[in-house]
């Protein structure tokens, strides 16, 4: 019960408070992959804590251990002596609440995943016919006969880039930057990350981590892919490609949010100042620790409170 309560409280902290500290990680000039990792890790930990809570209630790990640590042995003794009559009710409530949330997540995510796979396969079928590709399977670049300066990618086992021939009017470095941007999406499994965060947002819109996580992750995957392309082809190449492709898109698609988003991406693309701002070896572990630390502290605090109150009973 102690483990289950700690996990449940940690999930609450992550779900409702994590956006406050995660949003501070995204800073222009700093590598966005750190912030992206932190958001994804926080969402994964949130789901893991939610799954772990009911699992701990059901399996009661304390019963299978001979030498229990102090808090667990204290709670067990108090329960056996009938000092905690409300404990079974609390266990049931926790199991029902966390269990129903987990079931909802599972149903929505699996439904969304199936729809995503079906739509992607159908889209790829059409693209192959339009691009005159006779071979099965995906991968590589499929060029479409169109004058637009546009490219996009489809994820999956054989991620594919679809590019319009209008892209060939770009300077070779800028064209390479566009393709590298899309390859970065495929290599980074960005389509899966975006799909899962979108499904989580649909499943639990009342949880800020899920609701705010979806747009944050969509933004950060674009910034991360921009950064990757800039690393390979140079900032100027990505900047030129962004400006040329943006201005060749339909005026109807260029609303105020679009212009703002483009300006922000150009701003974010500015080279990192100083060696400490680029992606280092410690960035990913730091990002995961940063996202998990408050939840771990909360879980530990719950254990400490239970111990203290049990010892005073």
């Amino acid at each position: 019960m102690i483990v289950a309560t700690s996990l449940f409280v940690a999930a609450l902290v992550l779900g409702f408070a994590a956006p406050r500290w995660l949003s501070r990680l995204a800073v222009p000039g700093r590598d966005p992959r750190g912030a992206l990792t932190a958001w994804v890790a926080a969402q994964m930990l949130f789901v893991a804590a939610l799954v772990g809570g009911p699992l701990a209630v059901a399996t009661k790990p304390g019963l299978h251990v001979d030498r229990l640590p102090l808090p667990a042995s204290c709670v067990r003794a108090a329960r056996d002596e009938g000092l905690l009559p409300w404990l079974p009710y609390a266990e049931t409530v926790l199991w029902v609440v966390a269990g129903s949330v987990v079931v909802r997540i599972f149903v929505v995510v699996s439904r969304s995943y199936r729809r995503h796979r079906r739509d992607t396969a159908a889209h790829l079928n059409l693209i192959r016919v339009l691009g005159g590709v006779r071979t099965r399977g995906g991968g590589g670049v499929i060029w479409l006969r169109d004058t637009a300066c546009a490219a996009y990618s489809i994820g999956g086992r054989n991620g594919t880039i679809i590019a319009a021939e209008g892209l060939k009017a770009l300077d070779p470095r800028a064209r390479r930057a566009v393709l590298d941007h899309e390859y970065a999406h495929i290599r980074g499994r960005h389509h899966v990350i975006v799909a899962i965060s979108g499904a989580l947002s649909t499943a639990l819109p009342f949880v800020p981590l899920c609701r705010q996580g979806a747009p944050w992750i969509r933004v950060l995957v674009e910034l991360a892919a921009d950064r990757r392309a800039a690393h390979a082809c140079g900032h100027d190449a990505v900047r030129e490609a962004l400006l040329r492709c943006a201005h060749s898109s339909e005026p109807a698609a260029r609303g105020e949010p679009f212009e703002g988003f483009l300006d922000a991406r150009l701003h974010w693309l500015s080279p990192a100042r100083g060696p400490g701002r680029s992606l280092g070896a410690f960035t990913y572990p730091f990002a995961v620790t940063f996202s998990a630390f408050p939840a771990v502290v909360t879980g530990a605090s719950v254990i400490a409170i239970v111990t203290a109150s049990c010892l005073t009973v």
């Binding site: 949003s23 501070r24 995204a26 800073v27 222009p28 000039g29 992607t120 396969a121 159908a122 889209h123 790829l124 079928n125 059409l126 693209i127 192959r128 016919v129 339009l130 691009g131 005159g132 479409l144 006969r145 169109d146 637009a148 300066c149 546009a150 490219a151 996009y152 990618s153 994820g155 679809i162 899309e182 999406h185 960005h190 389509h191 975006v194 979108g198 747009p215 944050w216 969509r218 933004v219 674009e222 490609a241 962004l242 492709c245 943006a246 898109s249 339909e250 109807a252 698609a253 260029r254 609303g255 105020e256 949010p257 679009f258 703002g260 988003f261 483009l262 991406r265 701003h267 974010w268």
Partner: protein
Amino acid sequence: MGLGDLESAIMDVLWQSDEPLRVRDVLARLEPERSLAYTTVMTVLDNLHTKDMVTRDRIGRGYSYRATRSREETAAELLRQVLRTSGDAEQVMLHFASSATEDESRILRRAARRTTARKRREFRS
């Protein structure tokens, strides 16, 4: 916009042909390893007609089919569609110069403002 396996194979046949084709013509031009029933091809062509991918004219008791738009026109339409819907939370196709929802645009503006304010404070102190 998307097509099933057989739908895309049939569209490929129609796009390769300069003239309208009847069901049996389509069946004959499909890859030989596909052993398909006449009615299967007819049903798929009917589905494509519902999707406005093909138009049909009555010839005797049957129909002759042709693609509504050329391959190039369909490619252009598809690209426009993807461009319009990129930034849409339901779409998981990541477009290079993607548009953004108001939420996404606001997130970046806020983060940039916070950074500028912090720099200003550091400069003053």
